[in-house]
Amino acid sequence: MNGTIALLLTQDGVTSGAIYALIALAILIVFTVTRVILVPQGQFVTYGALTYGLMQSGVMPGTAWLLFISSALAGILDARVAITAGRSRDLLLIAAIRIVFPVLVLAVSLSIAPEKLGTAGQIALTLATVVPLGPLMYRLVFEPIADASVLMLLIVAVAVDVALSGIGLLLFGSEGARTDPLFDVTLSLGPAQLGAPTLTIVVTSLLLMLMLFLFFERTILGRALRATAIHRLGARLVGIPVRRAGQLSFLLASLLGAVSGVLVSSVMTVYYDSGFMIGLKGFVAAIVGGLVSYPIAVLGALIIGLIEAWSAFYASAFKEVIVFTALIPVLIVRSFLARETPEEEVDE
């Protein structure tokens, strides 16, 4: 071990830590607003990474079809609601959102060869395809059972994760994807070289966190989300549409996930089944923050990233074991903080 290796490992750790931080934030936002523990968050990452990665290697993935089908299903649900409520005028709007947009995305995906899009175009198309999957997931899966217990929502979330991982295999195949770095710059920092992917990831993560901060602090929409997170019924009583808050939180989650995916594919090969483990590490970070605190979760994510990087060097075979075992001291602390008689959680 010398200084250079230490710096390299730290750099690796901070890089993955930044990604885990984005995932942890997404999980926190969704959990506080909807009480859904978003196990499939990692799937947004893999879908983003693989959609972008396949495009870069000249193959157009079938992600747009998933968007089209799930959007059409959501359209049918929406239309049924509109018709039973006697608001048939909404049908046009529903059709515009649920049909026109995905058809557009699908048309672009099918008609243009990915090479012609250029990097920016590929990223834009990736986000346009993957990000809407978040609110659609909420609409199709969680909205109908929005009032179920946390545990029920968790089991459903796991089921969604399992299904998405299978669909991922269908869409992307079992080959992994790794992409070229977005920018080609290197910063010298003392003895170490700060590579482009690291810089891109860390800077983008910080920007996203800043945006989130401004969104939650400064905008009325962000405040409405926070209000919903603090007290759902109270928020509903003052006129915040809780369902829309749910969709919005899922939109933020899929946005953070898809961006993380595009970023992470430049530093690691992503496979269709990588999502579960990536998501789980984000979780561990979110748990460090007690599933409520954003800054502590980000800190936890950095620690997880560093532990992972360093244990990859010292005991690479036991990397995952060490990361998940790191959860145990956190849980012990939480156990001691918890009262002797646990909080009242009465199931239906």
């Binding site: 545990l151 399992v162 959860l327 849980l331 009242e344 199931d347």
Partner: protein, 589 residues
């Protein structure tokens, strides 16, 4: 009756199956049986006790690897490694449970995913366990010198275990410990208030489920006679949980049905989907996931739960109330009337800067009924919580028979003879009325998990049942013993709470608005019962808003307002007191 026939039919079908079925189906049935064992543990853990675990596959794997290593590398007998594997898994569960079981709600399932993943990676990484390739040449189990090498011979071993586990769990659920386990779902406070040791009960269920998983792991490894890490990954743990959800979370039959349905489905899908899609891979997962989502959006009772709902003859029979007089349970020594039982001395409870209870003191003696009244938010229910140990006073003291009790847990305080009802009814809605009331008598029984599973508790159970029936007759619900508690009217549910508290054989009864929702006649009956209890030497502390009911009944009244004691005195004096009138009706202009 129908249920018994069903059992007989199922056992007969299982016994005759190997005689007619080809080996392929027997193998499938063996896989189903092994899964069903794990799922049976999960029914108890998740379906009944409400503790969700995605990590059972790690327990299966632990026992499987121990047996694989012990029999191949150390040359031990599989029967010895069964013992070692099950004990080691139980110890592992104890350790994991000690860390995670006290976590609230969703932390537990998430942590099960995390340690499930960690243990799985250990299997794959420890060199002596063969890494990803695993280990081969694991010997078969031999019974009396006869090695079980065919699926046919192994079949009977597996399903004997499954049937024993089903019977044991069915018996357990109807036992004293079983009721304690079921009470975990009603919230920790209710369970603790009747002396149930909630952390210990959770741990017991967790270990019970882990032991069943270990048993399954041992059966699995000597059935396949080869082992690799894949069947014990987190996905496998998730699949076991799905089996519970699909079959019916609250039923031992659900475990078998869930294991069978998903195993068969996987077999069919793994055969069909790759051909349909023109690729190979785990596409069955898509169908699995979508199926679970759709199922849970419609019902949370699973296949068996839905069937039982439609055909009530399949419901478990009501528990038998002994017709002949059983030896009654021992009762607490009665206090002489007028002796001091409860003394509250300057109790304070602060929530931040808000005093919910501020320097309140009063006494309750044996053989008297004290009314505790005050407008909403006066601190009456907080006072109840302080006395029963549900919360700790910030300052001041609470004495029961001269002993300081503040800060003790509810389950210590109920042992001293303090039993309560709740303002917001806390009954187990899906449980029968009489079983709910039997929870009240938890501390008057002794029998534990093992006795309950093996039905060695019948005599004690009969006595507990008789006592619960007696108390229910007393509160006027003698004809509702076997109704589902949730189907009673709210007023009747309050009476069930009174009966449950009486079942604890208390010296002091704390009643939080027992007459709310009762009809006039029922109120009179309740008043008569309370006077009777007073004459028997019981002390009663009563919170009630119905002044007509209260004032004609109680010996003394304590009035609270804004957390403070306003007045204390005889009902007539209190009713005439201008301060009380002002507190209730506003100032006289």
């Amino acid at each position: 009756m129908t249920r018994r026939l069903l059992w007989i039919a199922a056992v007969a079908a299982l016994a005759l199956g190997p005689l007619v079925l080809p080996e392929f189906y027997l193998t499938l049935l063996n896989v189903i049986g092994i899964s069903a064992l794990v799922v049976l543990g999960l029914v108890l853990l998740t379906g009944i006790a409400g503790l969700t675990s995605f990590g059972q596959a790690a327990f299966v794997g632990t026992a499987a690897y121990i047996s694989a290593y012990g029999t191949t590398e150390l040359g031990l007998s599989p029967w010895l490694t069964l013992l070692v594997g099950v004990s080691a898994t139980a110890l592992l569960a104890l350790a994991l449970g000690a860390i995670t079981l006290r976590l609230s709600g969703h932390y537990l399932p998430i942590s099960t995913i995390a340690w499930g993943a960690a243990i799985f990676f250990l299997f794959a990484r420890i060199p002596v366990l063969g890494g990803q390739t695993g280990m081969t040449g694991i010997p078969p189990i031999t019974i009396a010198g006869y090695p079980l090498v065919t699926g046919r011979s192994y079949y009977y071993l597996i399903w004997t275990f499954v049937l024993i586990a089903m019977l044991a769990i069915t018996s357990l659920l109807r036992s004293r410990t079983g009721r304690a386990i079921r009470a975990l779902r009603g919230g920790a406070l209710m369970a603790e208030s009747f002396g149930i040791d909630v952390p210990r009960t959770r741990m017991a269920v967790f270990v019970y489920a882990a032991v069943l998983a270990a048993l399954a792991g041992w059966l699995y490894v000597h059935f396949l006679r080869f082992i690799n890490p894949t069947p014990f990954d987190v996905t496998a743990g998730i699949e076991y949980l799905f089996m519970v959800v699909v079959g019916g979370p609250a039923s031992v039959w659900g475990a078998v049905v869930g294991a069978a349905v998903l195993t068969l489905l996987r077999n069919i899908l793994q055969d069909m989907l790759p051909r349909l899609l023109g690729q190979s891979g785990n596409f069955d997962l898509i169908v699995y996931g979508v199926l679970i989502v759709l199922l849970l959006q419609r019902t949370r009772r699973g296949i068996v739960g839905s069937i039982v709902e439609r055909y009530p003859v399949l419901m478990p029979p009501p528990i038998a109330v002994p017709a002949v007089a059983t030896a009654p349970l021992p009762v607490r020594q009665k206090l002489p009337p007028g002796s001091l039982f409860l003394r509250v001395i300057d109790a304070e409870k602060w929530f931040g800067g808000l005093a919910a209870v501020n320097k309140v003191g009063f006494e309750v003696r044996a053989g008297e009924i004290v009314g505790l009244i005050g407008p909403n938010g006066a601190g009456k229910s907080t006072m109840f919580n302080l006395i029963t140990g549900a919360s700790t006073p910030t300052r001041g003291a609470i004495e029961v028979e001269g002993e300081r009790v503040e800060g003790l847990s509810p389950r210590r305080i109920v042992r001293l003879g303090v039993a309560r009802t709740f303002q917001h009814v806390r009954l187990l809605r899906d449980m029968s009325v009489i079983e709910n009331v039997m929870i009240g008598a938890h501390l008057r029984g002794r029998k534990g998990m093992l006795a309950g599973s093996l039905r060695l508790d019948r005599e004690e159970e009969a006595r507990l049942t008789a006592e619960a029936a007696r108390q229910l007759h007393r509160v006027g619900l003698g004809s509702e013993l076997h109704r589902r508690a949730g189907s009673l009217s709210l007023g009747q549910q309050r009476l069930v709470e009174v009966a449950r508290a009486l079942c604890a054989d208390p010296a002091l009864l704390l009643l939080d608005e027992p007459a709310a929702g009762l009809r006039y006649g029922e109120k009179q009956d309740l008043a008569r019962l309370l006077s009777e209890l007073r004459d028997e030497g019981l002390a009663v502390l009563l919170v009630e808003h119905d002044m007509g009911f209260l004032m004609n009944l109680v010996d003394r009244v304590v009035v609270m307002e804004f957390g403070q004691k306003l007045v204390e005195g005889l009902p007539s004096a209190v009713q005439a007191d201008p301060r009380v009138l002002e507190a209730y009706l506003g100032g006289v202009e």
